[in-house]
């Protein structure tokens, strides 16, 4: 039996894909993650590409019928920028002197697949000095379409990385508080409650604001992840504590104590695994929250910084509504955030319905 049929025969996956909305969501998520995994291949341009002469160029027009009315291989024209003295704006006109044919699977900017394997092959590109801006360009003349892929790499992974930090902490914290009870529990829970009672976004921006300005992009990415995790663990630890309070009186815990297992062993090996189904549900339902938090933070300029792309900081240029009126393509990252969050929400709800039938929000 090959892996694919193994996955499709899995009972859990079968239940999950029964609903057509959930199935579509899963397909979208797989598609999104594949495209960010191979971002360098799908993006026509590299991370650092920019053509300052073409800032705010509109999307390239692709022609398949040439000037003689005959069918042709797809080609595009470059834009010529000129200042219009009547409207005081930059006008972009097609420069019809030279055709640039779209080239598939040809060599372009170098990138690394999974940061390891160097490659130069791109899905589609045009030869320089032709420019292929499928979704227009931003203020620095960078290709918005390419940056959507690179931005997705950050926006779609930062949530999972933050979960990897916040969930172990939340689980352990709640486990210890619930297991030991008494004064330990009291003090630990007061601290968790204090974090929960600061409005989340206020805490987020004040933490992001104290990050020093002169950091490398890797450092900044790591610290933003840590900050997101810091906001998220307290709520989880409270729920886990509640569950531990009821689990710790069960017989198997007594048995483990009788054998002489240490408290840490009992908490991590015997009690916390019992919370697994709740934790899985909580994880799937909290990913969208992290994605939204990161995009909000970067939108304000407090998260991921230029020249790195994230869907949030790409939207930053759209803050000026005048900008958006003339350049609607700047809004595309927002639609991607919306689609990703919607897909995660639908899958999360379905996972909850399967693993936690009691809290079923019936469809």
């Amino acid at each position: 039996m090959n892996i694919f049929s193994k996955i499709t025969n899995n009972k859990f996956i079968k239940k999950l894909t029964k609903d057509k909305f959930v199935f579509i969501s899963l397909v979208i998520l797989v598609f999104l993650y594949l495209s960010i995994a191979f971002a360098g291949f799908f993006a026509p341009y590299g991370k650092m590409f920019s053509d300052r002469r073409l800032s705010y160029a509109p999307p390239s027009k692709i022609f398949v019928i040439d000037q003689h009315g005959k069918l042709s291989l797809p080609y595009t024209y470059n834009f010529k920028r000129s200042f219009n003295p009547e409207t005081f704006q930059m006008d972009f006109q097609l420069d019809r002197s030279h055709k640039y044919y779209l080239k598939f699977f040809s060599q372009g900017d170098e990138y690394k697949i999974f940061n390891l394997i160097p490659s130069k092959t791109h899905l589609v590109k045009v030869n320089s000095p032709g420019r292929l801006f499928l979704l227009g360009s931003d203020i620095n003349g960078r290709d918005v379409f390419s940056r959507l892929f690179y931005g997705g790499q950050i926006s779609l992974t930062i949530g999972f990385l933050a979960l990897l930090i916040s969930f172990p902490i939340g689980l352990l914290y709640g486990g210890i508080a619930g297991y030991f009870g008494g004064a330990v529990d009291n003090i630990m829970m007061r601290i968790a409650e204090a974090i929960m009672s600061i409005p989340g976004f206020y805490l987020l921006i004040s933490l992001a604001a104290i990050l020093p300005a002169n950091m490398t992009s890797i450092q900044r990415f790591t610290l933003i992840t840590v900050i997101l995790a810091f906001i998220g663990w307290a709520g989880l630890s409270r729920v886990v504590r509640g569950m531990v309070l009821s689990i710790k009186n069960q017989e198997f815990v007594e048995a483990a104590k009788a054998i002489g297992a240490s408290p840490m062993r009992i908490i991590t090996k015997h009690i916390l695994p019992q919370t697994a189904s709740y934790v899985i549900v909580a994880i799937t339902l909290s990913v969208p929250g992290y994605i939204l938090a990161e995009s909000g933070l970067s939108f304000l300029g407090l998260g991921i910084q230029q020249p790195d792309a994230s869907w949030g900081n790409m939207l930053k240029e759209a803050q000026e509504y005048i900008n958006v009126l003339y350049r609607p393509w700047l809004l595309t990252p927002g639609f991607l955030i919306f689609i990703a969050v919607l897909a995660f929400n639908l899958v999360g709800d379905a996972v909850r319905d399967i693993l936690d039938p009691k809290s079923r929000a019936r469809r």
Partner: protein
């Protein structure tokens, strides 16, 4: 336990919470690499003597714990320090808090007025096309980032010119008559309320639908039907009243998420609220203002939860306050 004693007890419980929050935010501010006197140092009109006295007033040469006690003492007395622009922090907060409260309350009223009837309707017409449609719409409402939605509405407002952009009042507001004043504020509130209500509407509608579906299956509803009560009475007197109770607890959460969510919306739509003040303070590294906003936000959140608990007592007499 009577309600006044309960409120008193809750306030007493909140005190350690606020102290922990204030210590935490003080540590955050102290971790900041930003020099609180940087603005003053850059100003050539400020003499070194003034700088020195300001340093002593803020106690920057004292150990950190003493600085905290200084700050906390001043906070209790109502002295929140001076913002970088030289205004009193307390004045700026006082100017913004009513606006944020107004926005939050307007959003809560709108969401409840819309979400509860929709929730009841979908539960009663479970799996009907309209119910499915609402489920899809509510999923979408939950997924759209508030700042993005605000941006879209802003563009809509600019293009059509139907709604004012930014602020809470029009030019010449002082000279309007009261009715005109009221409608002017409402006109300015429509966009921010739409953004924030869309986000919380979806969750509330789903919750109401789920609750009512659960209640409709309970024994006492079957009993009410069995004894021949008209369906209207069964639903509105027995089922809905019980399904609404858990929603009141949500009120507290809603208040919390509104305070947070409002910040981005206020920023995009240029609404003069606490969230935007806080954001601007963070960006200008106005630490006195950031610190005060954090504490005030926390106090509002705690108050919101307390109000939710007391409301629950009023709607559900079975709840005991202890």
């Amino acid at each position: 336990m009577s309600i006044p004693i309960y409120i008193l007890k809750r306030i007493l419980q909140a005190i350690p919470l606020v102290i922990i929050v204030s210590i935490m935010s003080f540590i955050i501010i102290k971790l900041s690499p930003i020099d609180p006197l940087a603005e003053l140092k850059l100003n050539p009109a400020i003499s070194p003597q003034v700088l020195q006295s300001e340093k002593q007033r803020l106690g920057l040469d004292l150990p950190v714990y003493k600085q905290y006690f200084n700050w906390a003492g001043n906070f209790v007395k109502g002295d929140l320090g001076v913002s970088t622009s030289g205004e009193k922090v307390s004045d700026r907060l006082m100017e913004r808090i009513p606006n944020t409260l107004l926005l939050t309350i307007a959003v809560i009223i709108v969401t409840w007025l819309v979400a509860i009837p929709l929730g009841i309707y979908s539960a009663l017409n479970w799996k009907s096309p309209f119910d499915r449609f609402l489920t899809v719409i509510s999923s979408m409402g939950m997924a759209v980032p508030t700042f993005f939605f605000a941006l879209l509405l802003l563009i809509f407002a600019v293009k059509t010119g139907w709604f004012p952009v930014g602020g809470l009042t029009s030019v010449g507001f002082e000279n309007f008559n009261p009715v005109h004043k009221f409608f002017d504020v409402v006109h300015h509130l429509i966009l921010p309320v739409t953004v924030l209500a869309t986000a919380s509407l979806a969750g509330l509608q789903r919750q109401m639908r789920g609750n009512l579906l659960d209640v409709l299956e309970s024994d006492y509803v079957k009993m009410a039907r069995a004894k021949g009560l008209p369906e209207n009475k069964v639903i509105y007197k027995h089922a809905v009243r019980n399904a609404i109770n858990p929603m009141v607890t949500l009120f507290g959460f809603e208040f919390a998420s509104l305070l947070s969510g409002a910040a981005l919306t206020e920023f995009v739509l240029q609404y003069p609220g606490l969230g935007r003040l806080m954001l601007e303070a963070v960006m200008k590294s106005d630490m006195n203002l950031v610190m005060a906003s954090l504490i005030i936000g926390t106090l509002m959140l705690i108050a919101g939860n307390l109000i939710a608990d007391i409301l629950l007592k009023f709607v559900d007499p079975r709840v005991s306050l202890d």
